[in-house]
């Protein structure tokens, strides 16, 4: 554990990319392959299923640290991170562990699975006693499954490429899809022979950068493909070796979740990979995203949900044709290939070409963007016709141009301390809107303020707390913020009767007083304007990253 904990510390203690990479290279050059495989696993954001609940961990750490549980809770409030609270609350042992990370994962962490409380407790307490503070922190992070480190998958890929001499793109591709962290896996990952193949493996997704300003700056409109930016699940449909695989952008194999799409996949020619967007689709238009969640959320898809929420794959791109990786060919060529593949299937209605928006000039693109909400899209994608299909989010060739967010002025009414970097600072806010003479909770938002503003709001909250309910504080209703959000739906789960998508703070309206904030009626009024027919969902739209 010592080597991995040192790596973690080295990455954590610098903001310089070059130093992070140097630390990773140093580590990968000396770590045994079995350990290195687990390191890649964790550093690239994969994590084991949580095997022990927070409450149990807190209780065992409290008694090991000789601290009552209420005091553990107070400490947690100050630290904002369970793994770290446990680390700090336990006495220092002065010992350290030479055993490799692979031992700690395979012989300790995974052994917790299916054991009763007594055994789990024994393993946890024993492990805490065998590790020093740094190692214990890393261990707790692995256990709580919130292992996030200041190194993106991209940095890991760069470091592995530097260590092994294998091209970055090859490493990135080998890290896609499903793999078991083992010594053999790590050896394959850094092997110079690039003819390796895994029939299920998707390509790294190419992502667009947000467009700031007007698109005129992109040059001649004729060099660009404009298409809708759909709000669904970005996916790759793969047909190889007589098998079909459907992957989400989160690199989750969606086997069995979208049988209608997998059926179409089976009709594709051998050696085909299509990039597209999964959408709930009825009568040539998408249903709200919340409907798609009904499909994702459940294990067994009943006939009812399949009928009510039929899915399509709107195809954007063709990445592999006749078993050949064609990502470096120009988009124009790939789109032609894509069109002919789809045409050859006949009209299944399940695999559709994402339509190009006619764009004789930039003005018509702007116009289309303004109409995006009515189409059920989030905005416009602009892709250079000569562009290759790259890796990750790169500037230059692909741009997303979202519709302007909906906005409302709301009053800060509750606050809660954040976690991690924001531990001990009040950064998680609930906002209210007026209904008659009282404020109804309307949305929560965490992002959008500068550090300086956060500090000021934090100070305000400390001085204007009306009541405390556990970690939540009721705040004197005084501060007004312009909230931005992407979509709105009526909801029976929310007191306000509406649920909004991607709410965040657009700006702090220091010029406004609480009484100047908007009313709940104003917001309900948006329901009709935005979505045509008001729809009711039971439940809140889950927060999701942008899928492009």
């Amino acid at each position: 554990m010592r080597a991995f904990a040192s790596l973690f510390t080295a990455i954590d203690e610098t903001n310089a990319t070059s130093e992070k990479i140097a630390a990773l290279v140093h580590y990968f050059s000396s770590a045994p392959p079995a350990e290195a495989a687990w390191a890649v696993h964790f550093l690239s954001g994969r994590r084991p299923k949580r095997l022990v609940g927070s409450r149990k961990l807190a209780s065992w750490a409290s008694s090991e640290g000789g601290v009552p549980e209420w005091l553990f809770e107070e400490s947690y409030q100050a630290v904002g991170d369970l793994a770290e609270t446990i680390t700090l609350i336990l006495p220092n042992t002065g010992v350290s562990s030479d055993l490799p990370l692979s031992y700690w994962v395979e012989e300790r962490l995974l052994r917790l699975r299916g054991e009763d409380d007594d055994v789990q407790r024994e393993v946890m307490v024993q492990s805490w006693r065998e590790l020093n503070r740094r190692e214990r922190f890393v261990w707790n992070k692995l256990i709580t499954g919130s292992f996030r480190v200041g190194a993106s998958q991209r940095l890991v890929v760069r470091a592995l490429a530097e260590t092994s001499g294998v091209d970055e793109g090859v490493i990135a591709h080998r890290l896609m899809g499903a793999w078991e962290p083992s010594a053999e896996f790590f050896q394959r990952l850094v092997a110079p022979d690039t003819r390796d193949a895994d029939v299920s493996r998707p390509y790294p997704f190419f992502l667009a950068h947000p467009l700031e300003g007007e698109p005129d700056a992109l040059g001649d409109v004729d060099g660009w493909l404009a298409e809708w930016k759909w709000d669904g699940i970005r996916a790759q449909l793969i047909r190889r070796a007589g098998k079909t695989f459907l992957w989400s952008r989160g690199e989750e194999l969606l086997a069995g979740r979208f049988p209608e799409i997998e059926e179409v996949g089976a009709l594709l020619p051998e050696g085909t990979v299509i990039d597209g967007e999964l959408l709930p689709w009825v009568d040539g238009a998408p249903l709200p995203f919340a409907q798609l969640q009904r499909r994702i959320g459940r294990k067994n898809l009943g006939r009812k949900v399949l009928e009510e929420v039929p899915a399509v794959l709107l195809a954007y791109d063709l990445l592999e044709q006749s078993g050949k990786d064609i990502r470096t060919q120009p988009l124009q060529v790939r789109r032609q290939g894509l069109a002919s593949v789809i045409q050859s299937l006949g009209g299944s209605g399940r695999l559709l070409l994402s339509p190009a928006i006619p764009a004789p000039d930039w003005e018509s693109v702007s116009e289309a963007r303004r109409a995006a909400r009515a189409v059920g899209a989030e905005g416009i994608m602009l892709k250079r016709l000569t562009s290759a299909y790259g890796v990750g989010r790169r500037r230059g060739d692909w741009w997303k141009w979202k519709v302007d967010p909906l906005t409302v002025d709301a009053v800060l009414i509750y606050a809660q301390a954040g976690s991690g970097k924001r531990a001990g600072l009040f950064t998680d806010y609930t906002f209210g809107l007026w209904e008659g003479d009282h404020l109804v909770p309307f949305a929560k938002a965490y992002s959008g303020l500068t550090d300086e503003e956060i500090r000021k709001v934090d100070q305000f909250i400390r001085r204007n707390t009306l009541e405390k309910f556990g970690p939540v504080r009721t705040v004197k209703p005084e501060l007004v913020f312009e909230l931005h959000f992407e979509g709105i739906q009526s909801s029976t789960r929310h007191k306000s009767g509406v649920a909004v998508r991607f709410p965040r703070m657009g700006r702090w309206r220091v010029d406004k007083k609480a009484e100047d904030a908007d009313t709940i009626e104003t917001v309900r009024g948006l329901l009709n304007g935005v979505n045509g027919e008001p729809r009711t969902v039971n439940g809140s739209p889950e927060l999701r990253g942008d899928s492009d």
Binding site: S75, L88, N92
Partner: protein, 349 residues
């Protein structure tokens, strides 16, 4: 009548007619130590420890009336006996012992029990009522051995010097900066100081504290050749353009708050060294116990948890409001330091 009561201006002894660390100007102020949140400008007369008089003068108006009293020497203020006892926090920091008709109260001010070569060691004082700080009053705060912390700081400096980078070390101007100086290894390279640090360091030297040589980093706009140098500066300087003159650099903050990862990451600094001039959780409990006090007032920090902990152990404990609301007073203190600097007419950084 209780010996001390909390008033709108702070802790007041009515019998003796004096305040301890008042928040506003008063006639007579007894000062535990010279930090901005304890020593306020504008009072008519100040009483502080003899060894602290110099640094207090450096922070107040030049013509302030300050009387320095040797540690342990009792004086009578309107029939109430007052004596000052080392608190181990910074140079001259004192606990205030107040006695009237056999009733003994002690106000701790800020204190630590760890050794510190720049000030007299903390002295436990028996009393009936103890008024204690609780800045780090949670069991997550357990200081690592300071020899380890200094080894880390010197190791960091050495590594930066080898890489041709300046080591920007931030710490509170008064106390922390000098304690850091005393623990630095001057064989690694030159030590440069920010003006505010240099000024207080001079007061320390004048009081007889031996510190390694330092060089004032100056106010000139020109770039300073600071490779291999360690630059000691107040925390608020880290966000200013003043730091640019030192070229490529690694940044670090020395403070007890740095024990928690989020607190360090929030400051976007490379390193955080957990070095505090306050008691940690175990030392706090030991110190309270050693006073033998049956009644404990808890102030400055995590008052709620400490009060509950003491009550559960049968003590009569209560929270006393401080000047700053909030559990984390580090930024408030920093703000005060900054304001005090401006009031003294020092150049803004």
């Amino acid at each position: 009548m209780p010996l001390l009561t909390l008033t709108a201006r702070g802790l007041y002894c009515e019998l003796g007619d004096f305040y301890v660390d008042p928040w506003e100007p008063v006639d007579r102020a007894v000062i535990t130590h010279a930090h901005g949140d304890h020593a306020t400008l504008g009072s008519r007369a100040y009483l502080t420890s003899e060894s602290g008089a110099g640094v207090l003068r450096a922070r107040l108006e030049p013509n302030a009336r300050i009387r320095g009293l040797p540690y342990g020497e009792p004086i009578s203020l309107n029939g109430v006996t007052v004596s000052l006892h080392p608190a181990g926090h910074i140079l001259g920091s004192a606990q205030v012992r107040i006695v009237h008709r056999g009733e003994v109260w002690v106000v701790s001010g800020d204190y630590k029990t760890d050794p510190d070569p720049t000030c007299a060691p903390f002295e436990p004082v028996r009393c009936h009522t103890f008024i204690t700080e609780s800045t780090f009053g949670l069991p997550i705060y357990r200081w690592p051995a300071q020899t380890e912390v200094f080894a880390e700081i010197n190791g960091w400096w050495q590594a930066n010097a080898s890489a041709g980078k300046a080591s920007m070390l931030y710490g509170y101007t008064l106390g922390k900066a000098q304690r850091l100086l005393a623990g630095l290894d001057p064989s690694i390279g030159p030590i440069l100081t920010h003006g505010a640090v240099e000024r207080i360091t001079a007061a320390y030297r004048q009081a007889g504290v031996v510190l390694p040589p330092t060089r004032y980093a100056g106010t000139a706009e020109r770039r300073v050749d600071a490779k291999a140098a360690l630059v000691l500066a107040p925390p608020h300087a880290s966000a200013s353009s003043w730091t640019r003159r030192f070229g490529p650099q690694s940044t670090a903050f020395a403070s007890g708050w740095m024990l928690v990862r989020g607190a360090r990451r929030r400051r976007s600094l490379d390193r955080g060294f957990p070095l505090s001039d306050h008691v940690d959780w175990p030392s706090l409990l030991t110190a309270i116990d050693a006073t033998g006090a049956g009644e404990v007032w808890v102030t400055h920090g995590f008052t709620g948890p400490v009060v509950r902990w003491l009550k559960e152990r049968g003590l009569d404990a209560r929270a006393v409001q401080t000047r700053f609301e909030g559990e984390r007073d580090d930024e408030a203190v920093e703000g005060m330091e900054e304001m005090a600097a401006v009031q003294r007419g020092e150049p803004a950084t």
